[in-house]
Symmetry: C2
Subunit: 171 residues, 2 copies
């Protein structure tokens, strides 16, 4: 007998998030260590539905990770550089090899395949300019099949958040 496509099939079906789920996510995004009780108090619900909804969103993958974010300047990662990279050849094998290497470089915290004249955009963090120079010369430029590389330096951080805001479509 087929089950209805509803929330309990969270591991298979696309989870449909209602207003309460989104409200919970707003609070969790701000503080991953907020207690179920605090959420339930703010939302005027008991702890049971909050707990169930969170577990459901964890299981469905809506909640990807509870992460701890550090102050880069206080852990000697104060320099941020945006790197543009183009490859010489664009066959599958060359691409896979490049991706593997990127994953092994801890200085690269983000890498995107992008539109435009370059193939990839990298966000790189390092302790200082010397460390970045070492990364650029000895690691990035050494990757086989590497074409052009262009570095754009981050002078200041204006805004930096992971909070996704959802339109308030109240019932």
């Amino acid at each position: 007998m087929a089950k209805s496509i509803k929330k309990e099939d969270s591991s298979i079906e696309q989870l449909i998030l209602d207003t309460k789920d989104l409200e919970i996510l707003q609070l969790l995004q701000k503080n991953a260590r907020i207690t179920v009780k605090e959420i339930s108090d703010q939302m005027h619900l008991s702890t049971t539905p909050i707990h169930e909804r969170i577990k459901r969103m964890e299981a469905s993958g809506v909640i990807k990770q509870y992460a701890t974010l550090l102050d880069h300047t206080k852990v000697k990662k104060g320099l941020m550089v945006i790197c543009y990279v183009s490859l010489k050849e664009h066959n599958k094998k060359a691409g896979v090899k490049f991706i593997e290497t990127i994953h092994s470089l801890h200085e690269v915290i983000e890498c995107y395949n992008i539109s435009g004249e370059f193939d990839f955009m990298l966000k790189v963090v390092a302790e200082d300019m010397n460390a970045y120079y070492d990364f650029h010369v000895n690691k990035l430029s050494q990757i086989e099949n590497m074409g052009h590389v262009q570095s754009v330096f981050v002078i200041g951080i204006i805004k930096q958040t992971h909070q996704l805001v959802f339109p308030v479509s109240e019932k």
Copy 2:
């Protein structure tokens, strides 16, 4: 009587992180909801020092935030665009006004002041191309003093992490 510049002055002085602190940070970065007990077991220490070290790093600002990260595609924020912006005028007043506006736009999750021909780089998330079009035309382009805008679309995410890796200087 002057106190020594040591760890207990965490709120004022620069906190010096030792190997154990960095080891704790590695675990916390991966999972903000890891228990003190789990950390203490992995590090072969009791819960007390782990707890104290964490509180110290929270107070000193090394730990900036416990954040919950969401799957963008599952919360209708699947499109990511990198926006380059240059302003017409570069006086203080114009810059401040621009920054204020950027902070009010929830689609902009990152904004950096950068070197090169553009003034700012923005990371923008939206539900789809229609939503991005609306953002571009009705919000971004409407900012006063706006000069050139160039959009680079993210085709694929190769790597995305917040895990900062620290060199293993054992001792």
